[in-house]
């Protein structure tokens, strides 16, 4: 089976009992995608599926056939992601870093569609991402800061 992973077509053996999360980590070595709860609660395994944030632990690998999967690795040169990454670092939004890839993808998806979000909108966007270290305040500040940095366009 074939799907698009970070901009390149890749083929894989479709094993239903393999989640997208395990496929990405074990077969494609993308360990930026974290395994936390493995049941949809923590958001550490967040990836973009056709551009939308989803929990990769709740997707069976054959279900991504023909679809577009994006991890932070595929956005390393993306201007919006670069601003977000810098804002996370400078605002102290990263401690242990386990939640960070998922947080970045959820925040990226928000800012891509809404360049000037309210604090409430930022909170909604990262509601599915648990952080055990920062207490969220600095993460929310970082996302709002990134929104200022990218400006209205």
């Amino acid at each position: 089976m074939i799907f698009e992973l970070n901009g390149k077509n890749v083929s894989f053996e479709a094993i239903p009992s393999l989640t997208l999360l395990d496929l990405l980590r074990n077969e494609f070595g993308l360990t930026s995608v974290k395994k936390g709860c493995d049941q949809g609660e923590c958001g550490a395994c967040t990836v973009l599926l056709d551009g939308m944030p989803v929990n990769s632990c709740l997707i069976l690998s054959p279900q991504v056939e023909g679809k577009r999967v994006t991890t932070i690795d595929g956005l390393s040169e993306n201007p919006l992601m670069i601003e977000l990454r810098d804002a996370f670092m400078e605002n102290g939004a990263v401690q242990c870093g386990f939640c960070t890839p998922g947080m970045l993808l959820s925040s990226y998806s928000l800012l891509r569609d809404n360049r000037n979000p309210t604090e409430e909108e930022v909170k909604m966007a990262i509601e599915g991402n648990i952080c055990r270290c920062t207490g969220y305040v600095k993460i929310i500040e970082a996302v709002l800061d990134a929104a200022v940095r990218i400006g209205p366009d």
């Binding site: 944030p53 632990c57 069976l60 279900q63 966007a125 991402n129």
Partner: protein
């Protein structure tokens, strides 16, 4: 973490194909967004299940308007519902419920059909659909029938669906002079099922309650319509006191249990408060003020 086991995955592209598989394969189970189902397959199953993936079937996805009804395909996601103007305008309680259900990630995968077929007493789309008198379309290979949503639920995690049947769509009548709202209480937004949830639908004629429908979830084996209270307050003039009486009357009707998410007593108190909040908001949306 335990690996997933105990299933095959079949991915039909048409509804007819899916219904044929449901009728012919041994031990089938439909899967839509998988957000309820996939975690269950971490427990070891004894017999292999054939999971019938509904996500490639175009006929089951999307929202349309027909004959003064809004029709929602069973695999329509909460995110799709949230961005639909018809629903926001005519079924605001459903819009409310989809905006607080799970997280962005869950809303992007989870479907309305999965939410009601999973038949959790806490399903957040159930009270809104119940107060809007939603009907559901159920089909197997040979027969197609419509039933009121209320008749779908049989108990916690139990529906009247037969092993070869699928839920195809949900139909909600449009009632332009009415308004509805949904409120819930969860331990933490995003990660828990509701401890209690409630929806109210009203039609207002000046200060009078011309029509009222109330539903509370997580206080009985299935999401409940509180018809006894609805009948009692029909035609009554709305006021703060009447709102309090409705809240009290509803909490007298529910049969909650203790569990890890809350005690029965707490649930009873909260059903009073949440139904009042929902009704107050619905009344406000009709343009009324409760004094």
């Amino acid at each position: 973490m335990k690996p997933l086991t105990g299933f095959n995955l079949v991915r039909p592209r048409t509804l007819q194909g899916a219904l044929t598989l449901m009728a012919t394969l041994e031990k089938t189970q439909p899967i839509a967004g998988g957000t309820d189902l996939i975690p269950l397959y971490r427990e070891v199953q004894c017999e292999k299940t054939n999971l019938i993936d509904l996500s490639l079937i175009n006929e089951l996805n999307g929202i349309t308007e027909s004959l003064n009804c809004i029709v929602i395909g069973s695999t329509t996601t909460h995110t799709q519902i949230l961005s639909n103007n018809l629903v926001a305008k005519h079924v605001s309680a459903l819009h409310d419920s989809c905006s607080v259900l799970g997280s962005v990630q869950i809303r992007n995968r989870g479907t309305i059909g999965g939410n009601i077929c999973n038949a959790s007493p806490a399903a957040d789309t159930a009270p809104p659909l119940l107060v809007h008198n939603a009907e559901v379309n159920i089909s197997n290979q040979n027969n197609n029938r419509w039933i009121p949503l209320e008749e779908l639920f049989k108990g916690p995690k139990l529906t009247v669906l037969q092993p070869d049947e699928l839920l195809l769509k949900i139909k909600i009548p449009i009632d332009s002079d009415s308004a509805s709202a949904f409120k819930r209480l969860g331990r933490r937004k995003g990660f828990t099922l509701s401890i209690v949830n409630a929806a109210a639908f009203v039609k207002r004629e000046e200060g009078l309650i011309q029509n009222i429908r109330l539903s509370i979830g997580s206080v009985a084996p299935t999401p409940l319509r509180i018809k006894k209270v609805e009948e009692e307050f029909l035609g009554i003039e709305m006021s703060k006191r009447v709102l309090d009486e409705i809240g009290q009357a509803c909490s007298d009707q529910v049969k909650p249990i203790d569990d890890i998410r809350g005690t029965a007593e707490y649930r009873r108190d909260m059903s009073n408060i949440l139904i009042k909040r929902a009704l107050n908001e619905a009344w406000r949306r009709t343009g009324g003020i409760i004094e």
